[in-house]
Amino acid sequence: MIWIFPVFFPLLLLVLMIFSPFRRAVFSCGLWIAPAPALSLALGGSGVEPAAFPHLFLETSLHFGSFGRVFLLITALLWMAAGMYASSCLAKDPAKIPFSVFFLLTLCGNLGLTVAQDLASFYTFFALMSFAAYGLIVHDKTPYAFRAGRVYLTMALVGEVMLASAFFYGGLAGPGLMFETMAPLLPAQEKGSLILSLAFAGFGIKGGVILLHLWLPLAHPAAPVPASAVLSGAMIKAGLLGWLQFFPTESVGELWGFLFVCLGLLGAAYGVLSGLNQRDPKTILAYSSVSQMGLMTMTLGFAMLSGAPDNEKILTGLMLFALVHGLAKGALFLGTGIARTIKIGSLSGRFVAAGLIFPCMVLAGSPLTGGSAVKGVMKEGAAHLPEAWTGFFSGMLSFSASGTTLLLCVFLWRVFLTMPQEKNKGPGAGMLTAWAALIGLLLVVVPLVREGVPEAYVPLKVSLNAIWEGVWPMGLGVFLAFLLLKWPLAPEGEKGLDGLFLEKMEQTLRSMERRWRASPLRDPAYGRIDLVAWTDRLLQRPLLRTGPDRIEERLMHWHTVGVLLVFLLLGFVLLAWAG
């Protein structure tokens, strides 16, 4: 029960919404109360026994597992903030009720998948989240949102079936459907690499691996601000969690690790480069997510390369990274939304600017913030790597910090451009509270971690060297950004590589559809044995229309009958005689 209730609490609220008196109440308070039980579970549930529900679905079992707790924490925190923000910013929206419905559904899926320890229920929550998120993405009902939704849904579906296939195989690999018993057996399976590839791609679509990320820069900006925050901050992590659950990091082997590293790096770089060329701050943030996810992928790859038990530190760092990234990205998205409501240059505008810069710094890993804590843990972990990789990993972390800084500078610049010139109504109280809460959390994340996950805690080294190591990449990034901002970035109508690629794909699909519509398959009669039509056609033959009547008429004649009689009789007698 202690596992079921937090996960299904959002659905409970959803059921309440059927009754009209509750509907408004659920919208205004329910959205942010919904993740509260989950949050308390994440904070206080360290010693709770795993729960198995053999009757539920295909023998559901719920628990944190190795990583679930952190993910549940990220999820609950972000959704809480987003819920609070949403009930304030969408208060006037006519479609707020549908929004709440999809919000709660997606939330349930996202919470559930963090604690699901068996394949089937994990897949269930994953699918619930994926499909319900469509409702959040297309909430605005603009053509842009619909297109984004279409791309998202298509890719999500492809991801779902890939995952499903992987799970079909995976379910047969071990004695049960539990991840912890199944995953270690996977690499040894006959179809091991097929299963892992399917799982990699399936989760990769959610996690924005390069080439599979196409939906991400479209969908995240298309959704309303709170939805973008959870999409980019929490839901994107589901892919990561999936990998962690499915890939036995200790035994999967170097090949996979190398693949993860390469694709992660590519993604990180590509995210930065593509993001530079964008105008919409939310799109830039989405690309930043692609880039950050690339980093996480790379880190996971390094964890695989080093193998157990050396990778413990890296994995801890990865968790911390996910947490920090989630909070920071959430804060940035919410902040973007708030910035739109505030006059440029006003006092509150300055506050907003400060509130935006801080998460940026965290993401870039500036010293004394959570970001540098992440780096610290990771670098410590990197020490266990093979010699060649250690330096590479550390270097990559620094370079990525430059890239992140560069991209986020552009982002800030773009936010600045989108801030309105006139005085506006200003943000709602809920919006501000949510945002402030996230920033506050970011501020205290380091002590928080020390309290909560002592083994992940690395004391911040307040040394000149350490600060320098944190600062120079940022400085490089800022410098590059200044250079770049002189450049005429992102001219009107420019689409970027992703846009071009998508357009090409859509064209191809459209022409396929055209060809499909012209195909003989369209003919309703195609491919079936239509006895009725056959017999009709047969009976419509001129011969068959008049022939039977003519023959029957002949048979009515005495002499026809007579001749037949005589011959048949003779034949009969002859046959009888001859035997």
């Binding site: 529900f53 053999p54 009757h55 539920l56 679905f57 295909l58 023998e59 559901t60 549908p98 089937a120 897949y123 269930t124 699918a127 619930l128 499909f131 409702g135 297309v138 009902k141 619909f146 939704g149 849904l153 579906l157 492809v158 779902e160 079936v161 499903a164 296939s165 799970f167 079909f168 195989y169 379910g171 047969l172 519509r517 398959l521 369209r522 309703p524 491919g527 079936r528 044995i529 239509d530 006895l531 009725v532 017999t535």
Partner: protein, 503 residues
């Protein structure tokens, strides 16, 4: 009681039907009462039988020897129990639905009379203990469904009826030939889990192969295997409760159930695969699954799309019978129930849409989710289930089918399921998108709408909503509680345990 209970279950609808025939048209209360009483009696009887069989291992058997190897045999085993409980429960709900749906329309006595006979036939199909009894009810089903298909009497309906009849009667003739031939060769036999023919070594393999082909052709028409599926989309012209029953319970299921009986209980899966007859059938099944989905994708009419979806989905059941792994058997069996409840939900909703909003085509469905949110929520639930989104029941079937395919080394099963799921999504998701997210294109027949964009939430009457709600929730529950011992899945596992290979 072991003798009478199956007969009570069988006759509860037969007698009801016959009485209803002679009732005058205007006694609608009495008719409804009779209908519901018959349906309740049947459900109660089925539950009693289930209890007896499962808890006490009672053998329910009714046998009339008619001479010359002609035994009329009703026998309750787990497989028949699964099918009969599906049909009895859904009959109950569909009757309720039909009462509301047909209120005030002409010839209701005739309709409900044949409706009851139709269920009698499908009960008989379920309980039949040997091929000849099965055939009797199978053909009876053809006969009593015809008046339902042509119920409206329009030229289109008559055409549909003719198409249906041509297909069904021809198939019946082929089946008849096969059944008689088999009996001539092997002598009379009953269904035996694991295959009755396995032990008869004197039979020639080539004869058995030909007979198998004939049997499958005969049964394949009702279960709408491509290219014998032509009647199904045409028969959509019938009133919604009929389509619901045709597609979800009675007719297509009788065919699929027959295929299962033939493969599991007449030939036996192992023996059939030894004979090499399963592979060609598998080819047909794969073709049907993909072709049905492709065709569904092209339909603009809601009911036709659902019909083609049925073509595709029913073949999952057969897929479960032809794929070798024991889990596939479970998947096929459980899909027998799951497809039924999900598809009947879809048809109930389609019926509500056409009856109250005049919506027949998919392009008319824009924004209908706001007018009838509950109906459309149920529709969405069932549609997602059809696609295979967990935790709705459809996923459970697909899961087992795919794993069965992998178990048996037939990995094409997974590929087929993946492609088919994508196609399912391709034809269902646009509908869901349209009804929830698009702006309403029509005013849904509401005259006094004050302002544009404002649509009142008004659902259909409870007689229509209650069955729909029940089936939708059941399809959800069948998935969510799949692990329960007596869920459809649990029962399917028990059934499969008796039929080869399942540990």
């Amino acid at each position: 009681m072991t003798f009478w209970l199956p007969l009570i279950v069988l006759f509860s609808s037969l007698v009801t039907g016959l009485i209803i025939f002679v009732l005058p048209e205007e006694r609608s209360r009495l008719r409804t009462a009779l209908n519901m009483a018959g349906a309740s009696l049947k459900v109660a009887g089925v539950f009693l039988m289930a209890w007896g069989l499962l808890a006490h291992d009672v053998v329910y058997e009714v046998r009339f020897t008619m001479g010359l190897g002609f035994d009329f045999l009703l026998k309750v085993d787990l497989l028949s129990l699964a099918f009969v409980s599906l049909s009895s429960n859904l009959w109950f709900l569909t009757t309720l639905y039909a009462v509301g749906y047909l209120e005030g329309s002409p010839n209701r006595s005739r309709f409900f009379g044949f409706f009851s006979l139709c269920v009698t036939a499908s009960t008989g199909v379920a309980l039949a203990g040997n091929l000849i009894t099965f055939f009797i009810f199978y053909e009876f089903l053809t006969l009593v469904t015809y008046p339902l298909v042509v119920h409206r009497g329009t030229p289109k309906a008559l055409d549909a009826g003719r198409t249906y009849l041509w297909h069904a009667v021809t198939a019946g003739a082929v089946l008849f030939l096969a059944v008689v031939w088999l009996q001539v060769l092997s002598g009379p036999f009953d269904f035996i889990p694991g295959g009755a023919l396995q032990s008869m070594e004197h039979l020639s393999r080539s004869d058995l192969t030909v007979i198998f082909a004939l049997l499958i052709i005969g049964l394949g028409v009702k279960s709408a295997l491509v290219p014998l599926h032509g009647w199904l989309p045409t028969a959509m012209i019938a009133p919604a409760p009929v389509s619901a029953l045709l597609h979800a319970v009675a007719v297509v299921k009788a065919g699929a159930f027959g295929v299962m009986r033939v493969i599991f209980d007449v030939y036996g899966k192992d023996y059939a695969s030894q004979l090499g007859v399963l592979d060609p059938l598998a080819l047909v099944v794969v073709g049907t699954i993909l072709f049905g989905s492709l065709r569904a994708l092209m339909q603009e009419e809601l009911k036709r799309r659902l019909a083609y979806s049925t073509v595709s989905q029913v073949s999952y059941i057969v897929l479960g019978a032809v794929a070798l792994g024991p889990l596939a058997t479970v998947g096929g069996l459980v899909h027998l129930v799951h497809q039924g409840i999900m598809k009947i939900t879809l048809f109930f909703c389609a019926g509500i849409l056409s009856e109250f909003l005049g919506i027949h085509r998919i392009d008319q469905m824009d924004g209908v989710g706001r007018r009838m949110p509950v109906t459309m929520a149920l529709f969405s639930l069932a549609a997602l289930g059809m696609i295979g989104v967990p935790p709705v029941a459809g996923f459970v079937s697909k899961w087992h089918l795919a794993q069965g395919g992998i178990q048996g080394g037939q990995e094409w099963v997974v590929a087929v399921l993946v492609v088919s799921s994508l196609l399912n999504a391709a034809y269902f998701l646009p509908i869901l998108h349209a009804c929830w997210f698009k702006a309403p294109a029509m005013d849904f027949g509401e005259r006094n709408r004050q302002e544009r964009g404002f649509i009142t939430w008004r659902e259909a009457p409870w007689t229509l909503m209650l069955p729909t709600l029940a089936t939708a929730l059941f399809s959800l529950a069948a998935g969510v509680f799949a692990g329960w011992e007596w869920s459809p899945l649990g029962v399917a596992e028990k059934i499969a345990a008796g039929r080869g290979g399942f540990p």
